[in-house]
């Protein structure tokens, strides 16, 4: 019962029938996609909005200065925190879906 509830809540493993090797490949591909998206955001908020794109954002006023300044001194740090927790949450789910979670 407990196991069923757990499966219902977290989604059933998707790849039970495939071989270990295929599962590992799919798992790794899903991992790389997630990391790629998060790294693009990582660069976009810091190097992008915080530095290179700051002139483009200069029209948006934030508390006495512009949005680029806010990203450089606060926005990027806040985004980094959210990204790591999203990564941890998504990866722990992938572990479970592809049956690679720790027993």
């Amino acid at each position: 019962m407990v196991v069923q509830n757990d499966t219902a809540a977290r989604g059933a493993p998707v790849a039970v029938d495939s071989t270990n090797e295929e599962r590992a490949k799919k798992y790794w591909r899903a991992n790389m996609q997630l990391v790629a998206v998060l790294l693009v955001i990582w660069a976009l908020v810091s190097i992008g909005c915080g530095i290179i794109l700051r002139p483009l954002l200069s029209g948006i006023q934030v508390g006495g200065t512009d949005l680029g300044f806010w990203f450089a001194q606060q926005g990027s740090i806040i985004t980094f925190i959210i990204e790591i927790f999203v990564y941890a949450w998504r990866m722990n789910r992938l572990d479970h879906l592809y049956e690679f979670d720790e027993l």
Binding site: A24, Y27, W28, N31, V35, L38, L39, W42, S46, I47, G50, I51, I52, R54, V62, G63, G64, T65, D66, F69, W70, A72, Q73, Q74, S76, I77, I78, F80, I81, E83, I84, F85, Y87, A88, M91, N92, D95, E99, F100, D101, E102, L103
Partner: protein, 588 residues
């Protein structure tokens, strides 16, 4: 109660807590000594990582770096936090899965080469030793200012405390002291910041106050931009350095942060791979509490300083030297704040005398050069006094500065001593050493490392200030790329990895030495350290990111030209990539 009594009480009180923890956490095995037995809760590890990571540089120097430069030094904020994203997604979970005690041990096994392990040990020792010098000098400065003892005595007391919990407790002792030190340092940093934010902006949260309004309704940053421009400085929120170096410097700090061995080994202490992922997030939460406060502290302190000197506005005359506040008198004693009455009028003219456009206006006011020089490192320590906060707040800051320096020093010393006892002694000299002998060797290595760090702290080589660039540059150009390729590529082999590390190391060190002086001996630089001499205009402090790219490129090129790694190594990589089967960190 006098200020001295308060300082004494807070500093000795915090030391008593560290010693009690030392008595309570003794390491009984190499696993406890190197990884605290692998049972640290991810949130606890996150907090310990926060203290491990936030050094004297973060606590004492960073707000000052931002205060006196403004926007352009946001690089430190983004660089020193962005590295944790790389660490969380690219290194920590996989190294935890592999489950070894040290960073060089992973490199040695993955690249099936004792030589690769030795190169990694050399990089680790250079990085960690240069880093530890700054921590030790920081302890000495804090002691001499707040307890009025001389530098040497202060440093030796600090080293003795670290000795107790690091030698006996190893990672186990260091972990729980770092948790206590985190609590001390975060209170010490945020309490005065809250007071100052309330005074200036009526907002108790400094990070909100930074973008808030001052009491007369003008936004804080608008007011700050105005007063600094009035005195001939460049605007606080403006972008004044070149974009290329800002980007490369940020990237170097990010990649370097992710490659610092003393931070990486903290993630060996959590029970599971999923804990390593969350723990990195918690670490950044605890770090962000300080890093979101620091830019507010910087901006508010700069405004406070100028308003102290020009109480009736920057258009009027500054205060008389005779009526200067008490905190200025105290810091003058340390030599970190200096007044030189160049025009002999007895007033403290403080402005940017390097600004040629401003020279005529200054001359018209009868000013003959800026008369006050302020070392930017005193800003955080003097902040509570500048804002006239209660005595206990000043004492809290003193204890916090020492906690920040000691916690980082302990983490670095553990990285150094485990590289010596586990990678050199057990790995290269005597693989069959019994566990209790290795534990003894680890303790002796720790004691020797503390002695050397103390010596270097007392006799800092002239280059101490330059070493941040070196430590981050090397971590970025050597450790990070090699670890990442070890996990993400099945093709990179031992020859490739060793060539990459060696070329990355030599390139970065040589580029820094060409402009900063060979082995940092001043006057021996081959080219002047000015933008028109830099290769493609890249500053030597920003070179780590380029070194990292070169490491990646060389390692791949050499690997593709030589045979792929053996099949068992490819199987090892497969197993690192999936969390199932991660046990506690193993002893070989």
């Amino acid at each position: 109660m006098s200020q001295y009594a308060f300082n004494f009480l807070f500093i000795t009180g915090s030391f008593a807590i560290y010693l009690i923890i030392a008595l309570w956490t003794r390491a009984g095995s190499t696993s406890e000594f190197y990884t605290a037995g692998g049972g640290v809760h991810p949130v606890v590890n996150g907090m310990a990582t926060g203290a491990d990571w936030m050094s004297a540089a973060s606590f004492i120097s960073m707000a000052g770096l931002i205060a006196f430069v403004g926007y352009d030094n946001s690089t430190y904020l983004m660089g020193w936090t962005g590295g944790f994203v790389l660490l969380a997604m690219l290194l920590a979970p996989y190294l935890r899965k592999y489950g070894h005690f040290t960073v060089p041990a992973f490199i040695g096994d993955r690249f099936y080469s004792p030589a690769a392990r030795l190169v990694a040990v050399v990089c680790l020792i250079i990085i960690s030793t240069t880093y530890v010098i700054g921590q030790m000098t920081g302890v000495g400065v804090a002691f001499s200012r707040f307890l009025e003892v001389d530098n040497t005595t202060g440093l030796i007391i600090g080293a003795a405390i670290v000795f107790f919990y690091a030698v006996f407790g190893g990672m186990k002792g260091i972990t729980y002291t770092q948790v206590a030190q985190y609590v001390v340092l975060i209170f010490a940093y945020t309490v005065p910041a809250i007071f100052i934010a309330l005074q200036l902006t009526d907002n108790p949260i400094p990070a909100f106050g930074l973008f808030g309004d001052t009491q007369d309704g003008t936004p804080l940053l608008v007011k700050l931009d105005q007063v600094v421009r009035d005195l001939g400085f460049s605007s606080y929120t403006g972008h004044h350095t070149d974009t290329l170096n800002m980007v490369l410097f940020t990237l170097s700090l990010m990649i370097g942060t992710a490659g610092l061995p003393h931070v990486i080994i903290r993630f060996f202490t959590v029970p599971r791979v999923k804990d390593a992922r969350y723990s990195a997030g918690w670490a950044l939460v605890f770090i962000a509490l300080l890093y979101l406060t620091a830019p507010a502290v910087g901006a508010m302190a700069r405004l406070n300083l100028i308003q102290t000197l020009f109480p009736s506005g920057t258009q009027s005359e500054p205060i008389d030297y005779q009526s200067r506040p008490e905190w200025m008198q105290k810091w003058e004693l340390t030599g970190l704040l200096k007044f030189d009455d160049k025009n002999g009028d007895g007033k403290i003219q403080y402005y940017n005398d390097a600004n040629k456009d401003y020279a005529a206006g200054a001359a018209a006011r009868g000013w003959n050069g800026s008369e006050l020089s302020v070392n930017q490192d005193i800003l955080v320590l003097a902040n509570p006094e500048i804002a006239r906060l209660p005595q206990w707040v000043v004492a809290l800051v003193a204890a916090g500065g020492i906690a920040a320096a000691l916690s980082t020093a302990a983490g670095l010393l553990l990285a150094i001593s485990s590289a010596i006892s586990h990678d050199l002694l057990k790995g290269a000299i005597n693989p069959y050493i019994e566990e209790h002998h290795e534990l003894l060797a680890a303790r002796i290595a720790m004691a020797v490392a503390i002695a050397i760090a103390t010596y270097l702290g007392l006799n800092p080589p002239g280059f101490a200030a330059q070493t941040v660039a070196l430590a981050f540059g090397l971590a970025a150009a050597t450790i990070f790329p090699t670890l990442m390729m070890g996990i993400f590529s099945k093709r990179v082999n031992s020859v490739g990895a060793i060539s990459g590390m060696v070329v990355g190391l030599v390139f970065t060190v040589v580029y820094i030495f060409i402009y900063k002086g060979w082995f940092f001996i001043s006057g021996t630089n081959s080219l002047p350290d000015t933008p028109d001499n830099w290769l493609f205009g890249i500053s030597p402090v920003s070179i780590g990111a380029v070194g990292a790219v070169i490491n990646f490129a060389v390692a791949y090129a050499v690997s593709l030209a030589t045979a792929p790694p053996p099949l068992e190594i490819q199987a090892l990589i497969e197993s690192i990539r999936t969390p199932r089967g991660a046990g506690a960190a193993l002893r070989e």
